[in-house]
């Protein structure tokens, strides 16, 4: 069950839009925060509160990549491998993190602390190579910096 605070938040969200359906995206973020990822139960709760068919929530959740359909680690490490980061060897940054954490891309450490992903451009090309961990950007990366950042999160 969604917490009362979350249910109230959804009611606030409803005031911002002309239609209930428009609230689906912000509500999915609420569910992701509450449960750690997008659960079927959470999606059904959204549908019920908004009064829309559950399928309308399901189809939105599968279209957008930032809704995690599976649990991710406490720290979701997302490294950009698009063009500007690749020119400055973003792939090497992926290797460094992969070795350090002992996991491959798309894997989570056994202690559920870190998930490693590669992502498309995050709009931080002037400070490449870069990565995002949860909501935070880490820019102008090199081996030593990556080492420090990950050690700081342990």
């Amino acid at each position: 069950m969604l917490s009362e605070a979350a249910a109230n938040e959804i009611k606030e969200i409803r005031k911002r839009y002309a239609t209930a359906r428009s609230c689906i995206m912000p509500c999915l973020y609420v569910v992701q925060r509450e449960y750690g990822y997008i659960t079927e139960e959470g999606m059904r709760e959204i549908a019920k509160i908004l009064g829309v068919q559950p399928v309308l929530v399901f189809e939105v959740s599968t279209f957008y990549t930032m809704y995690n359909k599976k649990p991710v680690g406490k720290y979701h490490v997302q490294v950009c491998t698009n063009i500007s980061c690749s020119i400055l060897d973003g792939e090497h940054i992926v290797d460094v993190i992969s070795r350090k954490l002992g996991i491959k891309v798309k894997e989570t450490t056994p202690d559920k602390k870190f998930t490693l992903s590669t992502v498309e451009c995050l709009g931080s090309c002037g400070t490449a190579p870069m990565m995002q961990i949860n909501d935070k950007y880490y820019e102008n990366l090199n081996d030593a910096k990556v080492e420090d950042i990950l050690n700081g999160l342990r």
């Binding site: 839009y17 359906r21 995206m25 279209f63 063009i83 498309e120 709009g123 090309c125 002037g126």
Partner: protein, 423 residues
């Protein structure tokens, strides 16, 4: 030295707060605009020559003028802050460091077109930016720059932030509308254009962040001032984001029409030590690449179009001689393939096929005839889709082909890369 307009506040302490914005003349333009008629505002923006900074370069004033004048109709403004074109990081700077500049531009634009509500569609990854916008909006409400009867006039306006969730296609204006409506972001067919049937079926203007940020300056300093900066047909200050193999990558505000050579060598400090310039993508990855011979091209909409490429978002990506163009093209097309929304068959299936062929060429398994196959796939995708995503992918690939045919051929024939040090 060009005096910054859009980035003038960016180095102030707490530049994102209302107090900082006010200290440099913030919200004066809103006061001035509310004393004008909406029609004279639209005329002013038309006269300024401002063209959309999101990539298409359409006249902003003209776009506003397409909105029906009927006062009984609900209208919307949407700010496109779904900055996702690889290489682009300009709107993020405005959003994070000067959100009030954007908000002021949005209130003026909304007044001009008669919209009582607007949405800022910000890409989901820009969490800091979205938080700063929400805070700035709260501050603006407190001072009655937003809300009911703004500054004692009859005009009321609300702004809401809508966070995306990781889909490049949402930067396409009709996909953006679908996304705000809570659907999968599949582009709509045009016509009808959003100016007539937009958000929730109502007349809607969609403008890029940088475009809207220009508005307060045009109102404050006049259309003639704006039109006097840079080339007559695409004037104004422009944010150029320079990334890749340069000594001083970053965001530079320069007059539209600044030559590419000056941007790379004077402002961005030239190519990294020990490397040579090989190719430049002038406007985000959809823009076909240029080479050394094109460096004197002025960076504006028309001059780049004449070179068969585009200004796009003004994102300059510099590629040096240690980078394999086949690899660069593969990275680019993996991106387009990943981001295709899947609605139109030529884009969905065509990009999948292109990526498969590109991967085998890159990994030394290319076959004779692969070049012809790729060229044919380009023909089959181009112009056959609802939105320009497929076209962008084709243009990027053709740009790589046309300039670096021998690298593709070498890869296919010798099963390896002709660039030293690459696999």
């Amino acid at each position: 030295m060009f005096e910054p307009v859009l980035l003038k506040n960016i180095n102030m302490p707490d530049s994102y707060k209302l107090t900082s914005y006010m200290s440099s003349g913030g919200y004066q333009a809103l006061k001035k605009a509310l004393e004008m008629t909406p029609d004279s505002l639209i005329q002013m923006v038309k006269d300024s020559g401002l063209r959309g900074r999101g990539g298409a370069g359409f006249s902003t004033g003209l776009k506003w003028s397409f909105i029906p004048k009927d006062p009984t109709l609900q209208k919307y403004l949407c700010c496109n802050a779904d900055e996702g074109e690889p290489g682009t990081f300009k709107d993020r700077a405005i959003i994070e460091y000067d959100p009030h500049q954007l908000i002021e531009g949005m209130v003026i634009a909304s007044y001009a077109i008669g919209a009582d509500t607007s949405y800022i569609y910000i890409r989901g990854e820009f969490s800091l930016g979205a938080d700063r916008l929400e805070d700035a909006i709260k501050e603006a409400y407190q001072k009655n720059y937003l809300g009911k009867n703004i500054l004692g006039t009859k005009f009321s306006h609300d702004i809401y932030v809508h966070r995306g969730a990781g889909a490049y296609i949402c930067g396409e204006e009709t996909a953006l509308l679908e996304s705000i409506e809570g659907r999968r972001a599949l582009p709509r067919i045009k016509p009808p254009f959003p100016a007539h049937v937009g958000l929730f079926g109502k007349p809607t203007v969609i403008n890029n962040v940088e475009t809207l940020a220009c508005i307060p300056h045009i109102v404050n300093r006049g259309a003639a001032w704006f039109a006097s900066i840079g080339p007559a047909k695409s004037p104004g200050p422009k944010l150029f984001g320079i990334s890749g193999s340069v000594n001083k990558p970053g965001l530079y505000e320069l007059p539209m029409g600044t030559p590419l050579r000056e941007i790379i060598f004077t402002h961005a400090g030239g190519i990294r030590p020990g490397k040579k310039l090989k190719a430049v993508i002038p406007g985000g990855v959809s823009a076909p690449m240029l080479t050394e011979k094109d460096l004197d091209t002025p960076m504006d909409f028309d001059s780049l179009a004449a070179k068969g490429t585009m200004l796009g978002s003004g994102a300059v990506v510099v590629i040096d001689d240690s980078m394999c163009i086949v690899k660069a093209a593969l990275i680019t097309h993996e991106f387009f393939h990943h981001e295709s929304c899947g609605k139109c068959t030529p884009c969905r299936e065509g990009l999948d096929w292109i990526v498969k062929v590109m991967r085998r060429i890159e990994h030394g398994q290319g076959k004779e005839g692969d070049m012809e196959l790729l060229k044919k796939l380009c023909v089959d995708i181009f112009g056959r889709t609802f939105c320009p995503l497929g076209d962008g992918a084709v243009m990027a690939l053709r740009g790589a082909f046309n300039n670096f045919t021998e690298e593709f051929e070498y890869h296919i024939k010798n099963k390896r890369c002709m660039v030293n040090g690459n696999r």
